[in-house]
């Protein structure tokens, strides 16, 4: 299997989000950046295919400036073979999707993996757009992927259910928990990653469809009203009076 794994470079899930005073960007002071947790499911699954069959290739891709390179190196340390950075400011989902589609065009990838969403923008937008640009089948929120006789067999998550699907290869897949287990890179992987190719390619020109005007924190919550544990039933009368139950 020849896979392209598209990763996002996002603040660690424990980050206390702060924005710069002009409200234009994230204040990155003291922020640890990681591979998007959902993206990592696709990365590990792609590596597993290579391990199982002893053949194949895993390219990891990220759209961004030089600051995303440590995140790409980490993906190489986990086991990807080559990394590509598309040198551009990921201004919106359409811009990123166009870059990925242009890069993937004609390279005969069997699978193009994404996380089900970026935990930074929560859009779930790029994978479906790439599928549309490349006219490929798309399986969203995949929790299981196997290959048999050249056909992909997948589970796709729904609310309280999942679908069992079969897709021709190539296809685009967005990954949800269950598809694979996260891996921590070992020392050997980290050493090898230093010698693996990481190339930067210029971004294609795409005009922004959506721009961010301002980023701000949500308004603070009011104070918590405490109810005495010995009088817990009082909570019920409050909720009932407010029509909440």
């Amino acid at each position: 299997m020849k896979s392209l794994v598209c990763i996002s470079h996002v603040p660690d899930t424990t980050t206390n989000i702060k924005y710069t005073p002009d409200g234009k960007s994230l204040d990155t002071t003291g922020v640890t950046f990681v591979i998007g947790p959902y993206d990592e499911y696709g990365l590990v699954r792609a590596i597993e295919f290579k391990e199982q069959t002893g053949q194949g290739h895993v390219t990891v891709l990220c759209v961004g400036g030089a600051e995303v390179e440590p995140t790409l190196r980490k993906a190489l340390a986990i086991g990807a073979d080559a990394a590509v950075r598309i040198d551009g400011d990921a201004v919106d989902a359409n811009f990123v999707a166009k870059q990925v589609a242009e890069y993937a065009q004609g390279k005969d990838f069997d699978f193009i993996f994404f996380g089900k969403e970026s935990i930074a923008t929560n859009g779930s937008a790029v994978p479906g757009m790439v599928a549309e640009y490349l006219e490929l089948p798309f399986i969203s929120q995949a929790t299981s992927l196997e290959v048999k006789d050249g056909v992909a067999s997948l589970h796709r998550e729904l609310a309280g259910a999942y679908e069992v699907l079969e897709s021709p290869i190539p296809c685009v897949i967005s990954c949800q928990k269950g598809l694979a287990e996260w891996r921590i890179p070992n020392m050997r992987g980290i050493m090898m990653a230093k010698r693996k190719p990481l190339s930067a390619v210029p971004a294609a020109e795409v005009s922004a469809a959506v721009t961010t005007e301002k980023l701000e924190l949500p308004p603070p919550k009011g104070d918590c009203q405490y109810i005495d544990a010995d009088n817990a039933a009082h909570l019920v009368s409050i909720l009932n009076d407010k029509g909440l139950i």
């Binding site: 603040p11 899930t13 989000i17 994230l26 947790p37 959902y38 989902a93 359409n94 999707a97 935990i119 930074a120 923008t121 929560n122 779930s124 937008a125 790029v126 994978p127 479906g128 757009m129 549309e132 089948p137 798309f138 969203s140 929120q141 998550e157 729904l158 609310a159 309280g160 259910a161 999942y162 679908e163 069992v164 699907l165 079969e166 897709s167 296809c171 469809a209 959506v210 721009t211 005007e213 301002k214 980023l215 924190l217 949500p218 919550k221 918590c224 009203q225 405490y226 109810i227 005495d228 544990a229 817990a232 039933a233 909570l235 019920v236 009368s237 409050i238 909720l239 909440l244 139950i245």
Partner: protein, 326 residues
């Protein structure tokens, strides 16, 4: 300046999320001074479609191809964009359900429209497109966005607007869409139901448990309470990681994000990753024995106490109230 709603249905029946998306779309259409249309795919009775008229849909365009009875993001995107082009829609609205999220980005590409996912307020029209706000960074921040295309595709968050009836005369028109086998490349084999309970993304009330329950054997305490108010049940990540509860009940940054009217968190300390999945809830009740639990900082109501003592008392009180009003 018309607006198109994708009216998703489940084997011929609508769910609340569609009427909520219709309420959003109708408000937007009124702002633009244009009509609200809807598009449906697959078999659905006209009687069910009439319900859309209650929420302001004047015309529903129906693509009745039997192959559309199972979801295909490719085929559905073709149907939706065909309808949007036919009526010259300035905005296309899909609830951000699993299928809405899958088809929406394709529709945006097909229409060369701006894609604005997970919105939780009504956009304003600008000379260039739209502006508005949406949650970002998993609800830890708010983004003011601006679109730069003639049309935009919005996927409003489920449970963020509520229902707003605006009855109009409703008619059904048939929509011809040329679909090829390639649009159905992904084959549907079966659907496996993993939970028959209330869907937590659509539930008005969600009750959630954490490590404070000490083990799966104590979950009946939570389920009793949920049963007394018809709530959905959820859990924190550690609980799902330890297999006390299935993954599809895990709410949080890497689980399901929910926005119920009432969220009751029991025995959950409120780690930042958990809060990211529930911070859109309209009312939050926290029950925890640790007065320092960070969850109290975003709670509306809090009880510091032992859940094994407090929760059964609350359940009993709810049952009393319900019995008195039944």
């Amino acid at each position: 300046m018309s607006v198109l709603l994708f009216a998703e249905h489940w084997n011929g029946s609508f769910k609340k999320s569609v009427f909520e998306a219709a309420s959003f779309a109708k408000t937007l259409a009124d702002k633009l001074g244009g009509p609200l249309h809807a598009v449906v795919a697959g078999d659905i009775a006209d009687e069910e479609l009439q319900k859309l008229g209650q929420y302001g849909v004047g015309t529903t365009h129906k693509a009745g191809d039997a192959r559309l009875n199972t979801f295909s993001d490719q085929a559905f995107a073709k149907v939706i964009s065909t309808a949007a082009s036919a009526i010259g829609a300035k905005a296309v609205v899909l609830a951000n359900t699993y299928n809405g999220k899958a088809a929406g980005p394709r529709v945006a590409v097909r229409l060369d429209a701006a894609f604005v996912p997970g919105v939780n307020n009504i956009p304003e029209a600008t000379s260039e497109g739209f502006t508005g706000q949406r949650p970002t960074n998993s609800g830890k921040g708010v983004e003011t966005y601006r679109t730069h295309r003639a049309a935009a595709v919005f996927t409003p968050k489920v449970n963020s607007f509520g229902l707003n009836e605006a009855p109009v005369d409703h008619s059904v028109a048939s929509l011809a869409v040329e679909l090829s086998d390639a649009d159905f490349a992904v084959k549907f084999l079966e659907k496996v139901v993993t939970s028959s309970k209330v869907s937590i993304t659509e539930a008005d009330i969600v009750i959630s448990g954490g490590r404070g329950f000490k083990g799966p054997e104590n979950w009946n305490i939570l389920e009793d309470m949920a049963g007394s108010v018809g709530a959905g049940t959820a859990c924190s990540k550690p609980v799902s990681d330890m297999d006390w509860r299935p993954h599809h009940e895990h709410v949080g940054q890497t689980g399901i994000q929910i926005a119920p009217n009432l969220y009751i968190a029991i025995g959950i300390s409120g780690a930042i990753q958990h809060l990211a999945g529930v911070n859109s809830s309209k009312n939050i009740v926290v029950i925890n024995k640790d007065p320092e639990a960070p969850f109290f900082k975003i709670a509306d109501y809090g009880i510091v106490g032992d859940l094994f003592d407090v929760v059964p008392k609350i359940t009993a009180a709810i049952k009393e109230v319900k019995a008195a009003t039944a």
